[in-house]
Structure formats: structure tokens, C-alpha cells
Symmetry: C2
Subunit: 149 residues, 2 copies
DNA sequence: GTCCACCTTCAACCCGACTTGAAGTCAAGT
DNA sequence: ACTTGACTTCAAGTCGGGTTGAAGGTGGAC
């Protein structure tokens, strides 16, 4: 059966991404060069784990470059050293991200209940409503973007 | 004193951003057109509150378009209705963001302690280490990126 | 009266992360 | 044989969020 070898289209379908993304990932090195059968990429199911990891890591703020660094390391000597290193460097960032996100969540909840006739008067738009944030640090210029429907 | 009118340069310095960003923000409508004194923008100190809000909203996952929508609303009738609406639409996104970020934080902490000789064997790279995540929803393709030093 | 820092506009460029399009290859089905 | 559909490569385009550069204006100090 085809239980051992997947085409790029099958992988894409199962991972919920486009084939073009897979090729792009390969081109930037976050996926290894795939085996070919008459020119066409063949994947073993483990690729799905890897794609899942890439997805999560992206969500969590790693760039594709960083993900490549992580995954390159995973195949080499001293892998866990490099992993530890990267993980420790990245932790403060994600913690700051979480605290920013929590602050915004609080703001959104308050905003969801806002009844102010004019938002100029509303506390939500005064400094007090967001002064609890870490404010801008030089060590992190985080950007979160999401395009919900 | 200059306590009431700030130049773009002063605003930029106090907000910790570039003048070019301020002009860009104005051009895309997240900042109102500034008053001019012989061609040069003059700001009252409240602009800093606004810039702070923009910063936070960006960190929290709003695009400049969404921020404009929010702030446009803040000056109009039914402002709080629109604010409530946007806030409620955005809350699930930020909650998902937080849960993803928390999951990655857990992963990073585990990775920071990893002693595995080969990361192929390491649980961190198996499905189990991140299967607790919401996985990809169609309603959100969130991206968080941060460029720490 | 000219030097200087700071301001102006506008177009062009940059970056990451993809997507799209054109042109061609390959294996299976009829 | 030929069509179909999924694949291939490579270059170029897109999008958000800005930055950069050229060419010029303004006003206060010397």
C-alpha cells in the first residue's frame, strides 16, 4: 500500500498546507531534500511530524531561519547543546509575548463590555488601561499577526 | 513652554520609534493628520497615548487596518458598539494565541533541559510533545514573529 | 547671510513568507 | 496515441509593515 510513501500533494493535504509551501520550506532548508521517484518528491509519514513541529514553532515566534537552526542541530553531534542554547535564548521572548497577549486579552474583555458613549472618555483609551504592559523593550520587537475571518 | 506642542522628532524619541513610522502611521490612517506649523507636524502629548495603544494593539495581533477601524470608531457615534464588536471578534484569536504560546513555552522549557544524545530519539520531536495544541484551525493562521538580539 | 539641525514629500526599496504563472515531465487510463 | 492530472523548475508577484534616499523648505544662532 501507499502507507510508506507520500506524494507532495498527499503530504500537503494531510498537513493542511499548500504544496508550494512544502517546496518553499525545502528551498529554505527547514525540510531536507526529499527523495525522488522519477523526479517527484516522495515522503515518509514522519514528514508530517516535522511539518507539525514547524507549524508550532512558527506560531511560537520562531522564524524559518531559527527553525532551520534548530532542526539542523537535531541531526548532529552536540545537538542537545544547541537545542538547549536556542531554547534558553528564546524563552524570555515567548514569556514577554505571553504577558503582552494576556494584557491585550484583558483589554479586549473590558472592551467587549464597554458602554461608554464616547471612547475618548473611556478608561480603555487612557494610559491606565495598558500601563501594566512591559512596554517597549529594545530586546524584543514582537509582532503578532493573525488574519481571522 | 514646549509642554503643549511636540515636533515629530520629539514624539518619535519619546515613543521610541522612528519619525518615518509616525508618517507611515499617518499615511495609513492609524494616526490622524497632524496640525501643521509652517508645514511641520505638531503634536499634543496625547499622541503618545495613542502610539502606546497602537503598539500594544500590534503586539496583540491587530493589523494596522484593524487598529484604524478601532480608532476611527472611537471618535464616532456608536463607538462602543463597534469596539465591542471588534473586541469580541478578536478575543478567540488572542486566546488561541496564548494557548499556542503557552504550549511553546512548555516545549522550550523542556528543550532547555534536554540531554538526549540524539534529538531524533528525543520526545520533544515526537508528536506527543506538541499534540496538546489546538492544531491548525481554518479561522486562524496566526503568525508571531519576534526578532530578539 | 549663511550654517545647521530638523523638517517636508514622494518613490523606491527591503524583509519574510509565501503564492502564482509559464513551460515542461511523467505515468496511468482509454 | 493521446489526454489527464499531478508533478517539476524558476522567476516574478504579493502583502504587511515599514525604511531609505533624493531634493528641497524653515527657522534660529552666529
Amino acid at each position: 500500500m501507499a502507507s510508506e510513501s507520500l506524494s507532495i500533494g498527499q503530504v500537503a493535504a494531510q498537513a493542511g498546507i499548500r504544496t508550494s509551501s512544502i517546496r518553499y520550506y525545502e528551498s529554505v532548508g527547514v525540510l531536507p531534500e526529499a527523495d525522488r521517484v522519477s523526479g517527484q518528491r516522495r515522503y515518509s509519514p514522519e514528514i508530517l511530524t516535522r511539518l507539525g513541529f514547524i507549524d508550532i514553532a512558527q506560531q511560537a515566534g520562531f522564524s524559518l531561519d531559527e527553525i532551520r537552526e534548530l532542526l539542523d542541530g537535531s541531526m548532529q553531534e552536540q545537538a542537545s547543546d544547541r537545542l538547549q542554547d536556542l531554547a534558553r535564548r528564546k524563552l524570555p521572548d515567548i514569556e514577554e509575548l505571553i504577558s503582552r497577549a494576556e494584557a491585550m486579552k484583558g483589554w479586549l474583555q473590558a472592551a467587549g463590555d464597554c458602554q461608554c458613549p464616547s471612547l475618548d472618555l473611556c478608561v480603555l483609551f487612557s494610559d491606565a488601561a495598558h500601563s501594566s504592559l512591559p512596554s517597549k523593550t529594545e530586546t524584543q520587537r514582537g509582532v503578532i499577526s493573525s488574519n481571522a475571518s
